[in-house]
Symmetry: C2
Subunit: 486 residues, 2 copies
């Protein structure tokens, strides 16, 4: 006989209220419901009007049949089983491993050691050195391995940074809206203040400096100690890349207003329109051009193996680089990450492979290049197809696909639809997305999960799923929905 909840020590009314307050829609009710449907589909009982679940709710490329990059996985197979290196001839002559695969694996085993051992808390020094070299090539400015902290995906890096930055209920962080809900969820857990600043949908989701300044001023007027501004560039869920002058403007704001910058740059290679401008690169240039003026700016920029053409989410690898931080604060960051011991070591090795892939002329280069471009072009093609479908849908507006892995269309729903949602105690976009899932098996995330301006509705969909059938099913569902609630 199971105990009633009132007799238990822990119940929904006495656990950590900040855990209760945290919201994370990307894996929320819709995702749970879609997994239930997946289980039902596996029973082949014909009870659902579709034959597949399309998980367009989360940027999880390899779940949607994106193939991993061969060079990366060949190296990792040798790190998992170094005994294979005793059969180098078999590897090369019979299994198609090129000489640079073998060489890279030997480098890792010599420099990092067993992937089954804990590394240094902030990541294996040799890998941090390779990341520093990558940053120097990317930005043209020095980077120091001691300022790099490896993490289990970018998420755990964000968790670390917000933990150190937020000092209590009055600490505030400027977060773009719409945003990836990791930020609001983490701030809820820390009982700190999310200070929203709205991106400008009419300008392809660019940063609106005036609106940001207004949010900051209002928060400070309400005694919020605003300490930090988060920028997601390229944007999630928006896909927008900030222009160089937008990046400069954010840095100038941070300097003038004494804000730490967290630059979430995990989509830095997922850019279709414009160009990625790293915060580190722009900051270093500003420092060079304006001696002294930007020396106090504190920047933490994050990267990950989960996105880009790598798409290795399950390996949980990433890092952040700190610029301008107080050494005493860095020591506290080091201690904080040491409590969880270290990031997964095989994921750390994959970060090294991402930042230092095969170069032209090396044996694995040709295949690497082909696979990389194939993934890039596939993503762009699907984004364009999806965008085209949206353009045919009544009441749906969506800017050109710009990058990341998402489209974030506006939907305009009738009063009847809004009323029907309210009657179920739901937000209108949530209601719409649940209906879509039920009719098509396509799981997307309502805009309310990311935040949106009052009286606007959106949804976020990835453009990772192969094929076009699912896109057609969205178009059909939408028409039927609009007809039903006309």
């Amino acid at each position: 006989m199971s105990a009633s909840s009132s007799q238990r020590r822990l119940n929904i009314d006495n656990i950590n209220p900040h855990v209760k307050a945290a919201k994370y829609a990307v894996r929320g009710e819709l995702a749970v419901r879609s997994e239930e449907y997946r289980t039902r589909l596996a029973k082949h009982d014909g009870s659902l009007p579709f034959s597949d679940i399309i998980s367009a709710n989360i940027g999880n490329p390899q779940q949607l049949d994106q193939k991993p990059i061969t060079f990366f996985r060949q190296v990792l197979s040798l790190l998992e089983n170094p005994l294979l290196l005793e059969h180098e001839d078999v590897l090369v002559n019979q299994l198609g491993y090129k000489a640079d695969v073998v060489e890279r694996a030997k480098w890792h085993l010599a420099k990092v050691g067993s992937v089954g051992a804990y590394s240094a808390s902030n990541g294996a020094p040799a890998i941090r050195q390779r990341i520093a070299e990558f940053l120097e090539r990317r930005d043209g400015y020095p980077a120091n391995q001691a300022d790099i902290y490896m993490s289990g995906g970018a998420s755990s890096g964000v968790n670390t940074l917000l933990h150190v930055i937020c000092a209590g209920p009055s600490s505030g962080v400027l977060v773009p809206i719409p945003q990836y809900p990791l930020y609001t969820a983490s701030l809820s857990l820390l009982n700190a203040q999310c200070v929203p600043y709205y991106l400008d949908e009419s300008k392809d989701w660019a940063t609106d400096l005036e609106a940001t300044r207004t949010s900051l001023k209002e928060a400070r007027a309400n005694d919020v100690d605003v300490r930090c501004i988060v920028v997601i560039n390229p944007g999630n869920p928006t896909g927008a890349s900030l222009s160089e002058s937008d990046v400069e403007a954010v840095i100038e704001l941070a300097r003038a207003e004494n804000l730490v910058i967290i630059a979430d740059e995990v989509y830095q290679t997922n850019v279709f329109v414009g160009k990625f401008h790293s915060f580190k690169g722009v900051l270093c240039r500003l420092q060079e051009q304006n001696p002294g003026k930007y020396d106090n700016v504190e920047l933490a920029s994050l990267h990950s193996i989960s996105k880009g053409m790598v798409g290795e989410c399950g390996h949980r690898g990433g890092y952040f680089e700190l610029v301008g931080f107080d050494p005493a604060v860095q020591a506290e960051i080091y201690k904080f990450v040491s409590i969880m011991l270290c990031a997964p070591v095989i994921g750390q090795c994959l970060v090294e492979l991402m930042v230092n892939p095969p170069k032209p002329g090396e044996p694995s280069y040709e295949l690497y290049e082909k696979e990389y471009n194939g993934i890039f072009n596939g993503l762009q093609k699907r984004a364009v197809a999806l965008h085209k479908a949206f353009s045919q849908m009544e009441g749906v507006e969506c800017g050109e696909p710009q990058g990341s892995m998402y489209l974030f269309p506006t939907i305009t729903l009738s009063d009847k639809a809004v009323a029907a949602a309210a009657a179920e105690g739901r937000l209108a976009d949530e209601f719409y997305c649940l209906k879509m899932l039920k009719a098509t098996g396509v799981c997307v995330v309502p805009g309310s999960g990311f935040g949106q301006k009052p009286n606007t509705l959106h949804f976020r969909t990835t453009f990772l799923a192969p094929g076009t059938e699912w896109v057609g099913s969205i178009v059909k569902f939408h028409k039927e929905f609009m007809d039903e609630y006309r």
Copy 2:
């Protein structure tokens, strides 16, 4: 020119005070100093009186040359590069992969999918099912995969549990002293109360129920809302396995006092003396024998791939099982883990291999058994040798090695040594361990890093390092230290 710390936004006086308050000695000053020495040794400048650093501060077997278990790593190599399965004949006939390795890899690829994809937030369902089956075999009672949550090592599981259990500064958790400092550090971060209960060194570090009750009573008298008791069994740093009656007594205390039990059972296979009794098994038996009486007990028990004979720390794998938790609380735990997306998937696969290793009669069994026993016997042999050395050292007392990966001897230091430590602003055990590192290259952790009764001193050393030379160097150092401070 770098900014002075006062001009920066973040400084040591305004960051999160709970991060500052957290202590984690296992990777603290001594560990950092030992890495500096390692760097100096690599320069071969002859500036140090030893030729190797022995990292006896942390249970990191594969850093100290413990070889991974072949079956595990062969399967993982195929999961990292499934294309190898297109060459099954080469694998089997030329590379020594047995048929059960290939079969297991295919099972994972079919049931889990790509290790580069995010899994379900609480872990891949098929792996949770295998864990449930392992728990049923181990304990003889039912286990449900829906009550299992996979984590990045046990540490992240503890982080999850304490996050949900602690609701504010008045929430308290009973923590054994000495303890693994993850617990005190996590409670500091959460700004919750650590309520220490001292283990009884005179009884091989058994749980002292009377002392525990007294701690609980005192804390409650001081308005601490004590919600939970942590038990580390077998103990870290003590190595002690609780007797069955001790486990029963803790469960009875938890029932009577309405405490959640967190049973940290990561050393469950590292047992030399006595037998491991799982909290789940004993609780189920008590429930069976006393219908109704123990139905309200809430238990979370943790396990990991980092310890035991697996020793795969770098892969960051583990899980916890919940018994008796309110479904609404479990839903909040699910949401909490979903914010960090999922545990590393290759680590999840390794958990499956740990709980479901080759069975007698299967092709890989013989080698698995040989490797497993070799590691177990090696650990025991080194523990005994180290214990013997300690028994020859003046002022050092240490119980028989019982299990885990550690010895935790008492050291009695002279007033002169204590005064010399105080003159440097250090605790006496810290002073002693720093001197040991400087003289021998052996890095151990002072007892103060785990907590110890007032006026007692200890240190913790692993017995993982191969060879006996380092043991001899400790004996020699100790004699010289005792002579110097006589």
